[in-house]
């Protein structure tokens, strides 16, 4: 039964999703499966924008250090784990996902979930940032697992054929690497099946995101950031599809019954970048109490591109080359402007994440350009996604409040 849409005095400003239990169960099972895979010698650590369908087709289970970083942040132990890496000589300027990951490998007993299980391979793709290669090389030195880099150079505008050929050659190299490392032959039919499963989950996820055009939005930012876990970690599996079928049903139910993610939606904003995991609920729920919702963000929409039909390796190369973090600033600005228009948003918050230079680069220009094109005001707030030492709540609050005063 759909929850009552009317506000009662005791009702919180923010409505919890019923599927949050299923999400927790799905991710717990995934964590258990990574432990089992590690024991069986079939675990790879994988970057978030990696063409994971290929290792999945080799029956290799993927664990995501970036997702682990989000757990570290949520558990508020970022400074502790980052400190372990800094003791090894890694700079405080290094990405806090990298630092907390390296820190957890150094001191697993003091890390949430005793760290990620030991990998047998480290699979990095630099379509999201260049740091991943050095980070995985550092982990390789500590664990002995070999690194394979799917090198995808940055792209501006339409993809030239030589760029696509190069990216495809890296996928062919990946297949050789996985065949040797895991002693298994490549099965193209299986990869096609995995890609279909991946597409099915992506379609469900995308439909849930697009449902947020509704007023009031059925999902707020924190809902999407938490519910994206399976689309990152379980792409290409039946588990992801099962979760997103239930998730989409709840989202559609909310839309049908006019039930918003927040109780009294007054202002609709766009969010840009990874969230501050250590204060994600506090940040978005405090704003929810003021009637501020975030129906769209640039980050969770990055996992909404289907693998096109055609020769499978070329199709995978195409979709993973064209993620907007790998493209020029214009692609990201275009995306954010279209989100503002399509989701009828009245302003935007650009989170300048000290760790994530690739994502945060160009935000000053971005702010000017979005306002010029859309006419809506925006604000840049500064901080970090994991390292709470680099986040000042009072300063962030003043900036966001000033934005709201400009809108209301």
């Amino acid at each position: 039964m759909a929850p009552d849409a009317t506000t009662t005095p005791k009702e919180k400003a923010y409505r919890k999703l019923n599927t949050s239990k299923l999400l927790r169960d799905t991710m717990t099972l995934h964590i258990l499966s990574t432990k089992q895979a590690s024991q069986q010698g079939r675990l790879a650590w994988v970057t978030s924008g990696f063409p994971v369908e290929i290792p999945v087709a080799f029956d290799v289970t993927a664990a995501y250090p970036e997702q682990y970083g989000a757990i570290v942040g949520s558990e508020k132990c970022g400074p502790l784990l980052c400190g372990f890496a800094e003791e090894l000589g890694f700079s405080q300027e290094l990405c806090s996902y990298a630092r907390s990951s390296i820190g957890s490998v150094k001191n697993p007993q003091q890390s949430p979930l005793t760290g990620l299980p030991t990998p047998q391979a480290l699979l990095a793709c630099n379509n999201i940032c260049g740091t991943v290669l050095s980070w995985y090389e550092a982990v390789s030195e500590m664990t002995g697992a070999p690194v394979y880099l799917v090198d995808i150079p940055p792209l501006e505008g339409d993809q030239p054929s030589h760029h696509l050929s190069y990216a495809k050659s890296k996928l062919e190299g990946l297949i050789k690497f996985l065949s040797q490392t895991f002693n298994q032959d490549y099965d193209e039919e299986k990869l096609i099946q995995v890609a279909e499963l991946s597409n099915e989950a992506i379609s469900l996820w995308t439909r849930a995101l697009e449902a947020c055009r509704h007023k009031p939005t059925p999902l707020n930012c924190a809902d999407r950031f938490l519910s994206m876990a399976p689309i990152v970690a379980l792409r290409g599996t039946q588990q992801a599809i099962s979760f997103y079928q239930a998730f989409l049903a709840e989202v559609q139910d909310r839309v049908k019954n006019n039930v918003g993610a927040i109780v009294d939606e007054k202002v609709r904003l766009l969010w840009d970048n990874i969230p501050p995991w250590f204060t994600i609920y506090n940040f978005f729920n405090t704003l929810a109490k003021k009637g501020v919702s975030f129906p769209a963000d640039s980050y969770t929409h990055a996992w909404s591109a289907n693998i096109p039909r055609g020769e499978i390796l070329e199709s995978i190369a195409k979709v993973y080359s064209n993620v907007y973090l790998n493209k020029g600033l214009t692609a990201k600005i275009d995306k954010m402007c279209s989100l503002i228009k399509d989701y009828d948003l009245e302003g935007f918050v650009l989170f300048s994440v000290r760790s994530c230079k690739r994502y945060s680069l160009g935000q000053m220009v971005t702010k000017e350009e979005i306002t010029r094109r859309t006419g809506v005001p925006g604000v840049i707030i500064e901080g970090d996604m994991v390292d709470s030492q680099q986040y000042n709540e009072a300063q962030v609050e003043t900036r966001v409040e000033a934005l709201l005063e400009m809108i209301v």
Partner: protein
Amino acid sequence: MVTKSTLGIGIDVGSTTTKAVLLDAKRNVVTQYLLATGASAQKSVQKCLDELRKSSQQDLTVVPVISTGYGRRQALNAIKSVTEITCHSIGVHHLNPEIHTLIDIGGQDSKVIRIGTDGRPLDFELNDKCSAGTGRFLEVMARVLEVSINELGSLSLKAKHPSAISSTCTVFAESEVIGRIGTGESPSDIAAGVHKAMASKIATLSQRVGVKSPVSVTGGVALNPGFLYYLAQAIQTELWVPREPQYTGALGAAILALEGGE
């Protein structure tokens, strides 16, 4: 429906000082008060309200209060708290409706605000991550040069050959100033170098919002003639300074209080 009040109080709880302004219905200043914020923002707010009551000789119990500044949440009797960005914008617009760009230099932050025709901010940029470009920077430099903060600005205007101070980081600039003293450069030249460095930092911040004349400078640092001289050079425009620039935020808050907080 918005209820207009016959009196309104604005309190700006800043990092260095707390300012309070009492306005009548015609937006005339009845009285105002300023004191160091100190260790307790709540106490300084209460002290301000007591002083407004004493000097106006009126019962202000039911007069609406709007608070602003970093300690705005500490004004427990305020009907609403509003950011200093909006309050400074409204305050300076009231004093001079022609102003398009406002540069406010506080003790702990600096901000550049582009103001709309209605006095509301259109865009803003803040520097609040470090003390470079804030009043604190000048306070530290004045201490090193063994002059009071009030003397530092006029001292810099006596410079013949302003020193090159390359760092705007307070800690590193302090070392640099000590180095200049060591090489025998005059205090006025060093003071000029300090102001030039800070003006350059603020000019960069201003460019991010876009400087559109007329430009106003508010906050305690607007009382410093040396800083104003070098800032005008750096952004290549004349600057308009209110008579009491440190009260601008409290004034804006008091105007909002008169309007019922809207």
